[in-house]
């Protein structure tokens, strides 16, 4: 009976010990992925921002500019791309909608971002775009990979349509979460006019004919929870200028937008709560279960060996080796 129990415990011990690394190194990289049907919104605000009044073509200070960002996973498009890419793909249709203090649209920039669901590496397929312009992304955008490392990453900037490093600048505490702080500075760069302009009748083509160009610089800051790779907070010190041309009436440049863009408080709380919950799920596969199973396996192995040893041990004096019989001639 003890022998049988010992063998069952041995099988369970091997099961647990084998499952531990299999979960961490085989199952986790295959199971942890961004769902294809993700839908999320984000509201950012720039208080006391500078905004261009297109009527008078002068910059004025406004109490608030709001940016509404939506990311929506297109499941059908991702399944179509997966058939040729041979890996799990996520297709995000995004919209950055900027609204002035009067509720009117300042700009809206749509984009399509296609990436590997597990690694967040960009996947190049038809439809990848920013504001209607076909792009070929390198690096990450919006989200870092699971198990983010303390190093610089390549980050895609949708305004300039280019990729540049975003620098790891230390570990911080953000509302009880350990986060990695990343920062990227995009220097003044000439960028395209948005396809949708805030004033009816004005198009990028009509602005281009005046010789006026749009320039942009930003300092992008992200606080990233490293287990999930999800930013829990973000800020941008963003400036845009119109330069040269006849549109400015002889002035060299005019500020189109300048502001310190921050996430709205209720969205910060919501994001932190979601990330904390997802963090637990990732830790379950990367730490809690592997370490727990390994310890359980060791415990079961000890128990199995103990039972085996007891099964082999003689039961008591009755079973003791019989005393040698006296030798008689």
């Amino acid at each position: 009976m003890r022998r049988r129990a010992s063998l069952i415990l041995l099988a369970l011990a091997v099961f647990c010990a084998a499952l531990s690394p299999l979960l961490r190194w085989y199952a986790f990289p295959r199971l942890a992925k961004i769902p294809a049907n993700e839908y999320q919104t984000m509201v950012l605000e720039a208080k006391n921002a500078t905004l261009l009044d297109y009527g008078s073509m002068t910059a004025r200070t406004v109490p608030k500019v709001t940016i509404v960002q939506t990311l929506k996973g297109d499941v059908e498009a991702s399944e179509k791309i997966e058939r040729t890419a041979g890996r799990d793909v996520v297709v995000w249709d995004g919209l950055s909608y900027v609204q002035g203090p009067d509720g009117k649209m300042v700009s809206k920039v749509p984009e399509r971002y296609i990436f590997d669901a597990h690694t967040q590496e960009p996947v190049h397929a038809t439809g990848e775009m920013v504001d209607g312009d076909q792009v070929r992304r390198e690096g990450i955008e919006f989200k870092w990979p699971f198990l983010t490392e303390k190093r610089d990453y390549e980050y895609f900037d949708a305004q300039t349509r280019t990729t540049a490093p975003i620098h790891y600048q230390g570990t911080r505490d953000f509302r009880g979460l350990e986060v990695y702080y990343f920062e990227q500075t995009v220097p003044w760069t000439k960028v395209a006019m948005p396809r949708t302009m805030p004033v009816a009748g004005i198009t990028p083509e009509t602005v281009a004919r005046t010789g006026t160009t749009r320039w942009y610089t930003t300092v992008r800051k992200f606080w990233v929870e490293p287990v999930t790779g999800a930013p829990v907070y973000g800020e941008e010190v963003h400036r845009e200028e119109l330069r040269g041309g006849t549109l400015l009436g002889g002035r060299a440049k005019v500020t189109a937008f300048a502001g310190h863009v921050k996430m709205r408080e209720d969205y910060i709380e919501h994001t932190v709560s979601v990330v904390k919950s997802n963090r637990t799920l990732v830790l379950l596969l990367t730490a809690y279960l592997p370490w727990g199973l390994l310890l359980l396996g060791a415990l079961l192995m000890c128990l199995s060996l103990h039972l085996e040893a007891r099964a082999r041990r003689p039961d008591g004096p009755a079973a003791a080796e019989p005393a040698p019989q006296p030798v008689t001639a």
């Binding site: 041995l10 099961f15 199952a27 929506k72 649209m105 969205y267």
Partner: protein, 44 residues
Amino acid sequence: MRALIAAATGLAVALALVLTLTAIGAPAGKTSPKPLLTTVPAHP
């Protein structure tokens, strides 16, 4: 010999479980019917 068989059984079951889990994966679901927002939402 019986110990070897027990250990191999444990290993095989662990492998089968992990392979099944990863093969099943998570369902992709459906594209959300919600629109890309052009208004400021009151809350998340």
